[in-house]
């Protein structure tokens, strides 16, 4: 009852304040090839805006690619070597804005805000020096030049489907056995608890493998979302996430008494955070600290990062080792707790 009353309040607060697509203090990188006073003052202008925070100054193409793949920044500002002199001699210069378009909405918003900041700067120096200056931002959408939504939702859908199939179904089937009394007979039989658990989990694991394959086939051949990185790595990471979801399902099943509760916990406790806090719908950077902290324990957040990095950006294990390690840790933790709390008796 309390949950039913509290839910709308919580949701309104989360949606209204915490989860926004607005740009605020987004980390960007700067590659200043010019280093002249004009460049420095444009960078200062960017830094001064409340939208951006300069996280990294890079000095080579490779370095830029690397920070993008790591997902540390969402946009980069590149100032050409002749920025200051072009501006001085021709009253005209161009800068490059490179955005991580694996999330096209965010990329669009960011470049828009950045262009506006640059525009403001242009207006100001025009007024100050009483000469018409033009700074032209050239926008480059990295990874996803056509800005297609599929690049964003394929990884999100993968995380959601695996979670639904594995966690919810595993939890529900085991709890159902207990409700119908078949678990009672299974326990009295010589079948070992571990075997019972495995027998329950394996079909859903296989089902998930089929699901992953069909999602990937569809996204490559129908949606034209290429797999830039290693397919093997992507599959491996997906199996890892499947196992995490399975063990989470087992854990739920050992703790709840009825199918209804299992369903409720899977939906409210897992699906909602997965949709809202994995970064799939709302950028994690924009969330207030408490939500950002919560998002760290949402397995889908890490998996979503991995899929985006590997599939869209073509990153390798070297880039996603941290996420992989976190998922492995979660798997071990959930498995241990689930197996330990699986009761060999009824009470």
């Amino acid at each position: 009852m309390f949950i039913l009353l509290a839910m709308p309040v919580v949701q309104i607060i989360i949606f209204g304040f915490a989860l926004t697509n607005e740009v605020k203090n987004t980390a960007i990188a700067v590659w200043d090839q010019a280093g002249d006073p004009a460049a420095v003052s444009l960078i200062a202008e960017m830094e001064a805006s409340r939208y951006f925070e300069i996280d990294k100054a890079v000095s080579s193409r490779e370095e830029l690619d690397k920070v993008f793949r790591l997902g540390k920044i969402k946009m980069a500002l590149v100032l050409p070597a002749r920025f200051g002199s072009d501006l001085g001699h021709f009253n005209k210069a161009s800068v490059q804005l490179i955005a991580d378009a694996s999330d096209p909405n965010v990329a669009n918003t960011l470049t828009g805000y950045a262009a506006a900041v640059i525009g403001d700067y242009q207006v100001r120096i025009t007024q100050e020096r009483r000469q018409p200056y033009t700074i032209k931002p050239e926008i480059k959408m990295l990874y996803n030049p056509e800005l297609r939504g599929a690049y964003n939702f394929v990884p999100g859908v993968m995380a959601m489907v695996l979670l639904l199939v594995c966690t919810m179904m595993t939890a529900i089937t085991i709890v159902r056995e207990r409700e119908t009394g078949t678990m009672e007979i299974m326990l009295v039989s010589p079948a070992r608890p571990l075997r019972i658990i495995m027998a329950k989990a394996v079909p859903y694991f296989l089902l998930s493998v089929v699901n992953i394959t069909s999602i990937l086939l569809l996204s490559v051949y129908v949606l034209d979302v290429p797999i830039k990185g290693s397919l093997l790595l992507l599959l491996g990471e997906s199996f890892l996430f499947t196992l995490v979801s399975l063990s989470l399902g087992l854990l739920i099943s050992t703790r709840v008494a009825s199918q209804q509760t299992a369903l409720f916990i899977s939906l409210v406790g897992l699906l909602l955070p997965t949709v809202m806090l994995s970064g799939f719908m709302f950028p994690i950077e924009n969330m207030p600290l408490p939500l950002r902290t919560v998002s760290r324990v949402v397995p889908a957040r890490w998996y979503y990062n991995i899929v985006r990095a590997v599939m869209i950006k073509g990153a390798g294990l070297a880039t996603v080792w941290k996420e992989t390690l976190i998922l492995t840790g979660m798997l071990l933790f959930f498995m241990t707790v689930a197996i330990r709390s699986f009761k060999i008796r009824l009470a």
């Binding site: 119908t180 009394g181 078949t182 009672e184 007979i185 299974m186 326990l187 009295v188 039989s189 010589p190 079948a191 060999i344 008796r345 009824l346 009470a347």
Partner: protein, 316 residues
């Protein structure tokens, strides 16, 4: 009893229960289910645990099938301790829980196959044991278990519990919710299984099923009221029992109860059963006639239900 005594007892009996107690809940809300129960079942015996809902039958069965841990006391099944040697017990007992507990969305055949596999055996290996029972549902072997009638579900559940040829079979209220014809058939099946040498413990809330058992334990509120052969329990009913009926049963009952010779009186089917304080019924019958109450009277032979009622009232 010393340790040697306990061991000897374990060897002698198929099931040995010593002072088993169990409560549910924690701290403030403790509900006792069993208050130190003891009994033994001989190998090959058909033993009935008879008592109403909430008497503790299911709790006791769950302790014996290693599904629950007792709070106090010890118990062994087929010589194995229910706490320490639970794995050995799980290999050799058959258990049919009270509610229907087969896979509703598997067919009859698939259910049987499944349970055979779980017990590392095959249908063929022990087919002769379940043949009589399974043959009756075999025509429906491709039907989903969930779509069987009550009587057929019960036969399938029994087949599944027997497929590994258990040495001890626990049946928790197998006849609840099953019609009279199926109940009768069920007890006949149990008789045949007993002939195969399987020890059977069966619980039931229906007193009239006591007569089918070799020995019965009457259980009420977690305590054993009595344990013996059905005929010995009935023989122990020492007081004189009358059966009376009349056109107005309610008035008759109230009049009977108001007489001093009457120890107890209660409706019993078509009649009222009257337990007398003394052997002479003429005082009561004369009193009823004097009050103008029409009735017929005859001597009644007590049955298990009469015994249960008396034992319950003594307990209170």
């Amino acid at each position: 009893m010393g340790n040697g005594g306990v061991k000897l007892k374990r060897k002698m009996y198929a099931v040995s229960v010593n002072n088993i107690a169990k409560s549910y809940g924690a701290k403030k809300n403790v509900t006792p289910a069993l208050h130190g129960i003891s009994f033994d079942v001989k190998p090959g015996e058909l033993f009935g645990l008879i008592g109403p809902d909430g008497a503790g039958k299911t709790t006791l069965f769950r302790i014996l099938t290693t599904l629950l841990l007792p709070d106090k006391g010890t118990a062994s099944v087929d010589g194995f301790d229910v706490v320490n040697a639970y794995k050995s017990i799980r290999r050799r007992v058959g258990y049919m829980p009270g509610r229907f507990s087969l896979y509703q969305d598997l067919t009859v055949k698939e259910n049987l196959d499944f349970f055979a596999t779980i017990f590392n055996t095959s249908i063929e290996k022990n087919y002769d044991l379940v043949k009589d029972i399974y043959a009756q549902i075999e025509p429906f072997s491709n039907r989903m278990a969930g779509k069987l009638s009550g009587g057929m579900k019960q036969k399938l559940a029994l087949s599944c519990a027997l497929i590994h040829r258990p040495s001890v079979l626990f049946l928790d209220e197998p006849t609840t919710g099953v019609d009279a014809v199926s109940r009768k058939e069920f007890w006949e099946m149990l008789k045949r299984l007993k002939a195969e040498g399987i020890t059977i413990l069966v619980s039931t809330p229906y007193m009239d099923e006591a007569g089918m058992c070799d020995r019965v334990a009457l259980i009420q509120s977690g305590r054993l009221l009595e344990m013996d052969t059905p005929s010995a329990i009935i023989r122990d009913f020492s007081k004189k029992l009358l059966a009376l009926k009349g056109p107005d049963m309610l008035t008759l009952l109230q009049a009977i109860r108001s007489h001093k010779d009457v120890a107890d009186a209660y409706p019993f089917g078509e009649f009222h059963h009257v337990v007398l304080e003394q052997d002479d019924e003429s005082g009561l019958l004369g009193y009823l006639q004097d009050n103008g109450i029409a009735f017929e009277a005859k001597m009644a032979v007590p049955d298990i239900e009469d015994c249960f009622i008396q034992l319950m009232k003594e307990e209170r």
